[in-house]
């Protein structure tokens, strides 16, 4: 089985579909590998290295004419060269395809009965990670974005104390903490910068923190968890809050790296012109979404522009700028894919294989894209699922204890057991007997007064009982000293005796009582105030 690796003809493409190390894997799998002469030159892989790995060096036709053609970019049709036409009918092509954006290409692939596997369509499931070249490329892009920014930035990333004065560390804001964003966070931290990262998905908080970044978020409850591991489009309120946060950050940060992509759509504008304007001159914006239109309003895809003194990098070829490692990782992804497809001996398309089924675009004059039955989200946000407990308000000791004594009463009210009904009837009977069975006697003044006071007393007990249960345990001491001060109300009893209507002895004793009660009142309130002043957040 012949495997061809042609030279990439796109003008900005320095990568090649496989490094010599990857080629050795193909050879070990049993493939007959033909590499186009000088295919790896731009990625610093000379022909000799491929030869050593077990490949033969051939011309373009030899590599395009193989049974399986491995490429990075989708087949090009420009300047009289039509790469697709050079691929045999019925052969297999593995490369980026972007079928949604390249309908013509898909149609031509179908016509030529080519089995096309799109590396950009590999499903984002755990098992497919080894094949996921988008992740490997995003990782490179994130790292390179920081390096490019450092290159443009006129100061240190790390803070320094020198004899000539101190230099503050650079502040880097990373928007979108996907693979590229996380790589950017790691790289910027590695260079010593202060890194903040924004993402709509709460589940990436720990990942950001683990890389040393600070997680920024907005105070609106909305999960940005979309399917396929991407973030979804957020509500208007959320976006407004997000924009306010960015405006605030714009004045502070030196470097912004944006990585926000929404699959199949233009990248959202997150860094507006006025944000760029409010940035310090000499700041750098690296827009990794430039290829999908850019997250920054002023990005010009593929170019470096300077607007309001801010350098905006819209490079679309970040992985290609690190062609050596990019080719190696891409080749390794291809090797894993070929392994999934059966290697050289049993090579074929197995539509039961979920990786192949997800990535395949055309097969035997049929368009098989998009694949049916999308996979469930690979990151079912573990945080809310794992911790349902915080949703419940944590009861403090007092309110928690409160329902306990109330329960019997509640139960009594709720259930109507025969015993309780009997008690009710007995009480009613007793009432009737007392009311009608005995001689009605007019209450004298003292009794009447006592009963009225008793009513007040019982009601006050009830109010106190209801109010006190809500006091938090931490405040029990202040509560005690304040109630202690309040119980000094006994002073009123002493005060009313300070009258010439009573004898001198009684008035004197009353005055002593007033003295003690006043100590209690003043001492109690003041010490409570002293205590409460100390409580602070």
């Amino acid at each position: 089985m012949k495997l061809g690796i042609p030279k990439e003809t796109h003008q900005d493409e320095r990568r090649v579909a496989a490094s010599p190390a990857a080629v050795r894997r193909f050879v070990d799998m049993g493939f007959d590998v033909v590499v186009e002469s000088n295919a790896g030159e731009a990625a610093s892989y000379p022909d000799d290295a491929y030869r050593e790995a077990g490949a033969t060096i051939g011309d373009g036709d030899a590599s395009f004419g193989a049974d399986v053609v491995l490429k990075v970019r989708a087949p090009l049709a420009q300047d009289g060269t039509d790469e697709l036409a050079r691929i045999r009918e019925g052969a297999t092509l593995v490369s980026y395809v972007f079928p949604a954006q390249n309908e013509d290409l898909v149609e031509r692939l179908r016509e030529r009965k080519i089995t096309a596997i799109a590396m950009d369509q590999v499903p984002r499931i755990t098992r497919a990670q080894k094949v996921d070249s988008l992740s490997s490329m995003a990782n490179i892009a994130g790292y390179r974005a920081v390096i490019e920014a450092a290159n443009e930035f006129g100061s240190f990333f790390t803070g320094q104390f020198t004899a000539a004065g101190k230099v503050p560390p650079a502040k880097v804001l990373v928007i979108g903490a996907g693979v590229a964003g996380l790589a950017a966070i790691g790289a910027a931290r590695g260079l010593g910068a202060i890194v903040r990262a924004f993402d709509t998905r709460e589940s990436v908080r720990d990942q950001i923190k683990s890389l040393g970044g600070e997680f920024l978020t907005v105070e609106i409850e909305e999960s940005g968890e979309g399917k396929g591991g991407y973030a979804k489009t957020m509500s208007k309120e959320f976006i407004e809050a997000e924009m306010a946060l960015f405006r605030e950050q714009a004045k502070d940060v030196d470097i912004v790296v944006t990585t926000a992509l929404v699959p199949g759509k233009r990248a959202p504008i997150l860094w507006t012109a006025d944000m760029v304007e409010s940035m310090k001159p000499g700041s750098v914006v690296v827009d990794l979404a430039a290829e999908q239109g850019g997250n920054c309003e002023l990005t010009e895809p593929g170019k470096r522009v300077v607007k309001h003194g801010v350098r905006i990098l819209g490079y679309t070829d970040m992985p290609s700028r690190m062609a050596t490692v990019a080719s190696d990782l891409y080749g390794t992804n291809l090797a894993h894919l070929l392994d999934e497809m059966g290697g050289a001996k049993d090579f074929g398309v197995d539509l039961e294989n979920d990786i192949v089924r997800g990535a395949i675009v055309t097969h035997e004059s049929e368009v098989l894209w998009p694949p049916p039955a999308p996979q469930p989200a690979p990151q079912p946000s573990p945080e809310p699922a794992a911790k349902p407990a915080p949703a419940e308000p944590k009861p403090s000791a007092a309110p928690k204890a409160a329902p306990a004594p109330a329960q019997p009463e509640a139960a009594a009210a709720a259930s109507t057991s025969p015993v309780k009904i009997a008690i009710g009837i007995a009480l009613a009977a007793a009432w009737l007997w007392l009311r009608f069975g005995t001689e009605p006697s007019p209450a004298n003044g003292a009794t009447r007064e006592l009963l009225q006071h008793l009513t007040v007393f019982v009601l006050a007990c009830f109010v106190g009982w209801q109010v006190i249960w809500s006091v938090t345990a931490a405040l029990h001491t202040p509560l005690m000293s304040v109630t202690n001060a309040i119980s000094g109300i006994i002073v009123v009893g002493g005060l009313v005796l300070a009258t010439t209507k009573v004898g001198t002895a009684a008035a004197l004793i009353g005055a002593v009582a007033v003295l003690f009660a006043t100590i209690n009142i003043v001492g109690g309130f003041l010490v409570t105030r002293r205590m409460l002043r100390m409580f602070h957040k």
Partner: protein, 470 residues
């Protein structure tokens, strides 16, 4: 007109008192709550002294002024660690004031009749018990009196006899013309004094939080009884509020110790269940106590991500709360998550530890209650137990023969590393062995908690300093 005015003023005062208690329910509103209390009290006092009946100002003004000055001085100079004593002492003032008001009212002969006499009798009885009970509690908390329960033989019978004697004296007291019943009243007062003293003397030091809140409750009922006596609704309402507040606090404290209120009041801790404890000494865990030193503790703390501090009465005694805060700050600067776990009965007063930590500037959002934090010990790298013992005793959960069995405790032993700072190997207030001392995870740091904390803070500073300049 005057009657209506005073009634409205008293009603306003009562409303302010309710608002005051309500305000105490959370930290944010607590200061406002205290202010409401002051407003309510001012209204009540002002309304009363401007009443037409009250005219002996030469007697009343000095009493108010002197009382205010003494109270102010006491409040200003008390150390936060001495808060339990102060609260107990203040309770005794309410008690004695109630007794005095009762006597003065009886002598003044403002009213007469059986109902009135009963009310006076009850007021004096409760006031007297509150007075001596609080004094004894004060002495115990201050340390002037041993914290050990005073267990007289047949003490329940003595209490019962005192109550019966008081009832008989009450029967004798009723029905005298004028102030003729003063003799039985004085006799009853003496008996009530003795009863109050005896009741509190029989309660062990570890139960002091309950005792203090019980006395708090009594002082409220006293005021209420005075209200009945004087026909004053404000006194009744306020007394009832305070009384139920104290009662609830007592219940909360008792639940925290898994004991019934009857058991606490009449118990004399360790006697009723002592026999069972003695019968099964074999249940105690055997093992070696492992000692540690400041250096190891500091190394562990610095390497930790999560640290929980469990303060107890020992921290209050050593006045170590400021040092604890310094350590907390140093560790937090290094990114260590330090939190505090407060057991409901830690210390000698409900909420005692919270007050001490607040005094030392510890932010209250890292001070958590037992229920909030008990599950987190497992994921905590190091636990620092400062002068606490019974509240971290695992035998409360494992040893059915232990006197404290069933009491909810802080499960510090779920953490891989527990430092117990203790003065000695002695048992805690409850007099119960603590098997935690000999567990594998536990290291003992013997010595005064204040000195140990000094050592830890010093070492942390020494280690932090070079890191900061590098």
């Amino acid at each position: 007109m005057e009657y209506a005015l005073i009634t409205v003023a008293y009603l306003a005062a009562a409303v302010f008192f309710i608002l005051s208690l309500r305000g105490l329910s959370s930290q944010e509103t607590a200061r406002a709550g205290n202010t409401y209390g002051i407003i309510g009290m001012s209204i009540a006092v002002f309304a009363t002294i401007t009443a037409s009946e009250v005219d002996r100002y030469w007697l009343l003004i000095p009493a108010l002024v002197i009382g205010a000055v003494i109270g102010r001085n006491m409040a200003a100079k008390v150390a936060m660690t001495a808060m339990p004593e102060l609260v107990a002492l203040l309770h005794s003032f309410v008690g004695i004031a109630a007794v005095l008001v009762g006597y003065a009212t009886y002598i003044s002969q403002k009213k007469s009749g059986t109902v009135f006499e009963v009310e006076i009798f009850v007021d004096v009885f409760i006031g007297a018990i509150t007075f001596t009970g609080s004094v004894i509690a004060y002495l115990k908390l201050k340390g002037s009196m041993s914290g050990k329960p005073l267990l007289l033989p047949a003490r329940h019978l003595i209490n019962l006899a005192a109550v019966v004697a008081s009832l008989l004296l009450g029967r004798w007291f009723i029905g005298f013309e004028g102030s003729g019943g003063i003799a039985p009243l004085i006799l009853m007062t003496l008996i009530a004094f003795a009863l109050g003293a005896h009741l509190v003397a029989a309660i062990g030091g570890a139960d002091m939080p309950v005792v203090v809140s019980m006395l708090n409750s009594y002082s409220g009922w006293t005021a209420s009884a005075a209200g009945f006596m004087l026909g004053n609704d404000l006194l009744i309402v306020t007394g009832a509020l305070v009384g139920s507040s104290g009662a609830i606090l007592s219940i909360i404290m008792c639940r925290a110790m898994n004991r019934s209120i009857v058991n606490v009041i009449f118990g004399g801790f360790g006697t009723d269940s002592g026999a069972a404890a003695d019968a099964a000494p074999s249940a105690a865990e055997e093992g070696e106590i492992q000692e540690t030193d400041v250096t190891e503790v500091v190394a562990k703390l610095q390497a930790a991500k999560n640290v929980i501090v469990v303060p107890g009465y020992g921290m209050a005694v050593a006045r170590a709360q400021h040092k604890v805060f310094e350590m907390t700050e140093l560790l937090r600067d290094q990114g260590v998550n330090v939190r505090f776990a407060i057991h409901p009965v830690a210390g000698r007063l409900p909420g005692h530890m919270n007050v001490l930590l607040a005094e030392a500037n510890v932010p209250y959002d890292i001070v958590l209650e037992m229920d909030e934090i008990n599950e987190d010990f497992e994921s905590t790298d190091a636990v620092l137990v400062i002068g606490a013992n019974d509240i971290v005793n695992p035998s409360a959960m494992t040893d059915a023969s232990s006197p404290i069995y069933g009491m909810p405790v802080l499960e510090v032993w779920n953490s891989p590393f527990v430092v117990m700072m203790k003065r000695s190997r002695a048992t805690g207030y409850a007099g119960v062995d603590n098997p935690l001392f000999v567990r594998d995870c536990t290291r003992m740091l013997f010595g005064d908690a204040g000195e140990s904390m000094d050592g830890i803070v010093g070492e942390l500073r020494a280690k932090a300093a070079p890191a900061a300049t590098a």
